[in-house]
């Protein structure tokens, strides 16, 4: 069922139409964008600093003004009117235009930075040159395509963050979370690495390091050039390297145990930050079908295996053989990795096997056997570790996952696949956090007795494609590996059914056949475990 648009006016009817303030916002924002695009035609801007300021201010101001026009005059509350009528948010014409434009931008950014004005010799031109003044102000160096991207990315999170803030201003959880992602993006991802670059000199150099960008999301963190650079930078470098290792092996498990993966995915992470702010209008486009969930589990965990294999191969390739020179040799490392993976698997198998679905068991055993067999093959026949050169593994990962999946598809296709397709299907960091969240965390979404009316708002607005309602209507807690804890399901629920909570591990997973409110004896009878019979297929 769709809206019948019987008059042919171009502005559309409420709730599709935009008001005067929004129109002004659009003009100002597009003016800023147009200035940046003009720069790519090498239009000569007499005073780059001034024009860049005008362009970025217009862009930011336009977005904020648009948001103000959209929400400020309205009551506090849920603002999803007409989401499925608007072309942009319902995979219509404008969705494809924006999707193709973003995809094109990512392709140019990753593979053809020349067209953005990047020059190996001499001064930058085009868009990158336009950003030189800001880069020089921050780090002292000329801009690169990544600086342009970082600046625009930060502006997107900041400006659309304000939009999100206005939209959900009645919800304190959403407000705090948005301030958090805006803060981490502006400081950790954008400003701090630029300032760190200022510390570099001829005899001291740190790699560009966004401290919250943790391996394996930051898949290149332990590559040779970075590790060399960390080690040669003395104590500071060593601390940063150790922090990188501790991030994934110590800090992440502790925080995920206490709060679920949301502490990272929807409060800190840059990818999550963009998805939650600029991507918010597309959150309902995630695929909710059960088949999508099945695909998701295989794809995201395969990426995780890929990144572990790739990183192992890369680190292995640059380690030495002589234990008298350095304690960590090729063999120590490789055997260490095999033992670690084996122990991790054994621990999950012993303590949590009953919580794993059939395909999860097959997947886990299959991948473990393959990885260990390849390591064994390497020792027995002397073939390349994991059959391929470390360098080609690294390049393939960088191209397929780092560029195509996370950038071109993950962000470029926001208006088509939804805003979290990368986080859901591709992010190896999310996969690790998700495994832990599912098996060993205090986080869960609880449901409120018998109040659910199966309306479907929670599932529709779940950006991770979780069919939240399927749990809520059974009075079951929602404990899904993929849940990033954005809190929107709880916000859009019209009956106050869902609540994100950290609580005791006991009774965290509690399927109910009959919900609160019915006859006490019937509830007891039906909720006995195991359930009465298994005729029903889920």
């Amino acid at each position: 069922m769709s809206t019948i648009q019987r008059d042919m006016s171009l502005t559309g009817q409420p709730p599709k139409s935009i008001n005067t303030i929004q129109k002004f916002g659009t003009v100002i924002g597009l003016f800023g964008l147009a200035l940046i695009l003009l720069a790519s035609f090498n239009s000569v801007f007499p005073n780059k600093g001034l024009w860049l300021t005008i362009a970025l201010t217009s862009l930011t101001g336009g977005i904020i003004l648009f948001a103000y026009g959209a929400y400020a005059h309205k009551h506090e509350g849920i603002k999803n009117d007409g989401v499925y009528f608007k072309s942009l948010s319902s995979r219509g014409f404008w969705a494809w235009v924006v999707g193709l434009a973003l995809t094109g931008f990512y392709i140019v950014l990753y593979f053809f930075p020349y067209y953005l004005g990047l020059r190996q010799e001499g001064d930058n031109t085009g868009i990158i040159a336009l950003f030189d003044p800001l880069s020089k102000l921050l780090s002292g160096n000329p801009a690169s395509q990544w600086f342009v991207y970082g600046t625009l990315y930060t502006i997107a999170i900041f400006a659309f963050g304000i939009k999100f803030f206005l939209k959900y201003r009645h919800n304190r959880y959403e407000r705090l979370r948005t301030i958090s992602v805006m803060f981490f993006q502006t400081s950790f991802a954008f400003l701090i690495p630029e300032f760190m670059a200022r510390l570099n000199s001829d005899d001291f150099s740190l790699p560009y390091y966004d401290l919250k960008n943790i391996w394996p999301l930051n898949y290149y963190n332990f590559e040779q050039y970075r590790v060399d650079s960390f080690i040669s930078a003395g104590d500071v470098g060593l601390i940063l390297l150790l922090f990188g290792i501790a991030s994934i092996f110590i800090i992440t498990p502790i925080l995920t145990y206490k709060y679920g993966k949301r502490w990272y995915c929807s409060w800190v992470c840059g990818c999550g930050g963009l998805a939650e702010t600029a991507g918010d209008p597309f959150r309902h486009l995630s695929d909710k079908r059960q088949v999508a969930w099945k695909i998701e589990r295989w794809v995201v965990h395969s990426v995780l295996v890929f990144v572990v294999v790739m990183t192992t191969a890369v680190v292995y390739s640059y380690l030495g053989d002589d234990s008298s020179k350095y304690w960590l040799t090729k063999d120590t490392f490789l055997i260490g990795v095999a033992v670690f993976l084996g122990l991790l698997f054994a621990a999950i198998w012993v303590f949590k096997r009953q919580e794993l679905a059939k395909d999860a068991r097959y997947g886990a055993i299959g991948y473990l056997v393959i990885v260990l067999a390849l390591i064994g093959l390497h020792y027995s026949t002397g073939k390349n570790l994991f059959l391929f050169e470390a360098e080609s593994l690294r390049k393939s990962y960088g191209f397929l996952i780092g560029a195509i999946f996370s950038g071109v598809i993950g962000t470029g296709f926001y208006p088509i696949f939804g805003n979290r397709v990368w986080c859901r299907m591709g992010c190896p960091m999310a996969a690790i956090l998700g495994l832990q969240q599912r098996l060993f965390s205090k986080f869960r979404i609880t449901t409120n007795g018998g109040q659910c009316i199966s309306c479907g708002n929670c599932s529709t607005y779940c950006e991770m494609g979780i069919d939240v309602k399927a749990y809520a209507q059974k009075g079951e807690n929602i404990i899904r590996a993929s849940c990033v804890g954005c809190g929107i399901c709880s916000a859009v629920c019209p009956r106050g059914v869902l609540k994100l909570e950290n609580g005791p591990l006991e009774g965290r997973i509690d399927a109910k056949e009959v919900l609160l409110g019915n006859d006490v004896d019937l509830m007891k009878l039906m909720n006995q475990k195991p359930s009465p019979s298994e005729y029903i297929q889920k």
Binding site: T3, G82, N448, Q451, C455, D519
Partner: protein, 433 residues
């Protein structure tokens, strides 16, 4: 194999089917003339508002039915031959049943106003109603103004729907304030102010008199009883509640009153025929509950119960403590236990109202014993489980207020109002002493 036939694919019928399938391998057929697949009736409004597509309000994917061997038939049952255990369809054809569950739900309740048959007079109960609303109120050019009659939950939903398309809404209610007959005055007044703040022209103490149509038979205006004033409009929404949808049972020998009369096992007077959900009427009243309850979860609970009986484990329908919820534009409402619009004899109300005019609670309790009886909450989410337990334990009013924090279900970091409520409660206590 025993054949269970269910008339109606709403929450009651579908819950019954699911639970029978959990418990048995019987043949199950679900019949509906309304929609091919089960959908959430309470979510109809969100389709018009553009929050969701039709497919999003269907709780189960389409493969679910086949996989669980739940046969679906889109047809209208025109006659039940109880002696032959056969249903006849309006479209032609028959079907034989061994056991029949009638879960035919509700239909719009009207009061026989003049002009009711005009085009553009709509209810807001079925999928077909929604299609009518989409037809007569697609935008504010085709429908600059709509008049809604009847101040209840359906009315406020329809008002919210129409306002998203900037259609002017005149909302006629008989009472002083919105939903006065259910809500205590403080709450009814607050919700009325909120409804008005969304641009709804709420006209209290006003009754519909006649509906006027143009020469093509389409609605052009209504008149009110009190002043005779003519209000021009392009659509009239009838929101004066619902009644059991049972006209197709005439002559079947199944005993009906307002609804289909059932005993506590949900059995009708005819053997092997059961009635559940909105269309059922309890022969004996259960607590303070009405004999006909058109509520989502009671439909579900009756489905859970009848499935037991049909699968050889006879069970009586025995709902627990009353609860319910709704949303009035931006204000969420939940209720646990019984709070009446004015306290029953021997009881009193404690009312707390937040200054921002979007939050309030009312608690009804016994004056003598101070026993807690029920709570209405607006703008603050409360935990069903906690209140269910407190009602089971016959807690006092004082206990509830002092432990109010335990029942909070608002999202993390939300402001709490427990101390404010406690303070006000203590003040009222000292005043009354």
């Amino acid at each position: 194999m025993e054949h269970i036939v269910i008339i109606g694919n709403g929450i009651a019928g579908v819950t019954a089917a699911r639970h029978i399938r959990k418990l048995s391998d019987k043949k199950i057929t679900i019949i509906s003339a309304e929609a091919d697949h089960f959908f959430s009736r309470t979510a109809l409004m969100y389709v018009y508002m553009g929050h969701m597509r039709w497919t999003d309000i269907e709780p189960y994917e389409h493969w679910f039915w086949k996989k669980n061997r739940l046969e679906l038939k889109n047809a209208y049952v025109s006659k039940i031959e109880t002696d032959k255990k056969t249903l006849q369809f309006k479209e032609g054809g028959t079907i034989h049943y061994d056991k029949l569950i009638i879960a035919s739900g509700s239909t719009t309740n009207t009061f026989g106003w003049e002009g009711l048959e005009s085009k553009g007079v709509v209810g807001m109960v079925t999928k077909q109603d929604l299609e009518q609303i989409e037809k007569y109120a697609p935008n504010n050019k085709e429908c600059p103004r709509a008049v809604l009659v009847g101040g209840g939950l359906i009315g406020v939903e329809l008002a919210e729907m129409l306002r998203t398309r900037n259609i002017e809404v005149t909302f006629l209610i008989r009472e002083e304030n919105f939903w006065n007959s259910v809500l205590p005055p403080g709450e009814a007044a607050m919700i009325s102010r909120h409804v008005k703040s969304h641009g709804v022209d709420l006209q209290n103490n006003t009754n519909l008199d006649t509906i006027l149509a143009d020469e093509k038979g389409k609605v052009r205006a209504v008149t009110t009883k009190e002043t005779g004033e003519e209000i021009p409009c392009s659509m009239v929404g009838i929101c004066t509640g619902v009644k059991p949808n049972i006209t197709f049972l005439e002559g079947s020998g199944i005993e009906t009153d307002k609804g289909i009369l059932v005993n506590r096992k949900l059995e009708t007077n005819v053997k092997d025929i059961y009635a559940i959900g909105d269309c059922a009427q309890q022969r004996e009243t259960i607590g303070n509950r009405k004999p006909v309850e058109a509520v989502w979860y009671t439909g579900r609970m009756m489905g859970e119960t009848v499935a037991q009986t049909i699968c050889g484990n006879p069970f009586e329908y025995n709902p627990g403590h009353w609860f319910n919820s709704a949303k009035f534009f931006d204000i969420e409402y939940q209720t646990y236990g019984w709070v009446f619009h004015e306290p029953k004899e021997g009881n009193t109300h404690f009312h707390w109202h937040h200054e921002d005019d979007t939050k309030c609670i009312t608690i009804e309790y016994e004056i003598e014993s101070r026993k807690f009886l029920g709570i209405n909450t607006f703008g603050i989410r409360l935990k069903h489980e906690t209140f269910n337990q407190w009602l089971n334990e016959d807690r006092t009013m004082d206990f509830v207020i002092e432990n109010f924090k335990q029942a909070n279900f608002d999202p993390e970091f939300y402001r709490n109002f427990e101390s404010e409520i406690l303070k006000e409660f203590q003040n009222t206590k000292t005043e009354t002493v």
